[in-house]
């Protein structure tokens, strides 16, 4: 007779906690129970695949659950938008410093007489790409299954766009006017459309 392992496997604790934060109190225990049940079943064939499946469920479920909570609870809606705005802004800043500037700086060092315009264009392109990706992440989190993207874009993308403007103005003021006005216009004038474009593309993919 084969020995049976009577210990029932447990889902990834962090994933479970993240999901518990997103789901409403009414559904929390039930939904975690469902996921636990299916995880235990999948774990019988492969522990790694079961864990991967669980994390995928958490990532795919969170946008729907957040939207549900936002519809039911105004305070949560405000907190979610602010939280995602701050998180997005940190992401944009990290991308700007560690990817866009590092790449542009590396390219400038490799060329004996760097053509500054080309280096600057590459820097801005990377900066805008990162901003568009963040816009896509915002859309994925806040607009999933939401057929009123245009109506809600202002309240949901607005705070992040405002932060981009504020950061650009602070940079300009703190540099004592060393940054030309054209830099400020470029940075703000293109970053906000990049954010919106990324959100629009991601929301179309999410909605259709």
């Amino acid at each position: 007779m084969a020995d049976h392992d009577h210990k029932i496997a447990s889902p990834p604790a962090l994933a479970e906690r993240l999901l518990a934060l997103a789901v409403t109190k009414h559904d929390r225990s039930i939904m975690l129970g469902d996921l636990h049940e299916e995880f235990v079943e999948r774990n019988k064939s492969s522990s790694m695949r079961a864990r991967s499946w669980y994390w995928r469920q958490v990532l795919l479920s969170t946008p729907h659950l957040m939207r549900q909570r936002m519809q039911q609870n105004t305070a949560f809606a405000v907190a979610a938008i602010l939280g995602i705005t701050v998180f997005s802004f940190v992401l944009i800043t990290l991308w700007d410093v560690y990817v866009a500037r590092t790449t542009a700086g590396f390219l400038a060092q490799q060329i004996v007489q760097p053509p500054l315009l080309m280096i600057r264009l590459i820097y801005f392109l990377l900066q805008l790409t990162g901003t568009a990706v963040v816009g896509g992440l915002i859309a994925r989190s806040l607009f999933s299954s939401d057929y009123t993207f245009r109506k809600n874009a202002l309240t949901r993308l607005g705070p992040t766009a405002l932060l981009l403007v504020a950061a650009a103005v602070v940079t300009w003021l703190s540099a004592g006017g060393n940054y030309p006005a054209s830099y400020l216009v470029l940075r703000v004038g293109l970053a906000i459309p990049a954010l919106v474009l990324g959100a629009l593309v991601a929301s179309r993919k999410v909605l259709h």
């Binding site: 225990s29 129970g33 469920q57 479920s61 729907h64």
Partner: protein
């Protein structure tokens, strides 16, 4: 509509895992638990479905199941939606007909 149809197929044992599995099996469409429970919550608020709690089990981490069933209002709405869809598709695509004895 998919969720309501799945409830009818599975009753009286329609709960989250079973509903999700049934939809995936019949439609080849992957459904996340979040999407499913958001839909069930919306259907319950419209009184198209009713729910009751089941027993806890160790396989569910000591958590109970919630069984769902379609209400009379839900059945009426589903029938109405199917009829309306049939009317829209009439003459465009072959509409499956059920044969009765």
């Amino acid at each position: 509509m998919l969720v309501l149809a799945a409830l009818i197929r599975l009753q009286p044992d329609a709960y989250g895992v079973a509903i999700r599995t049934e939809i995936e099996r019949k439609t080849s469409r992957s459904v996340s638990f979040g999407a499913l429970y958001a839909t069930l919550s919306r259907l319950e608020s419209k009184q198209y479905v009713e729910s009751r709690l089941g027993e806890t089990t160790p396989e569910r981490g000591g958590r109970a199941k919630r069984f769902y069933q379609i209400s009379t209002l839900g059945q009426t709405q589903l029938q109405k939606s199917v009829t309306e869809l049939g009317n829209l598709l009439e003459g465009i695509v072959p509409w499956p007909t059920t044969t009765t004895k």
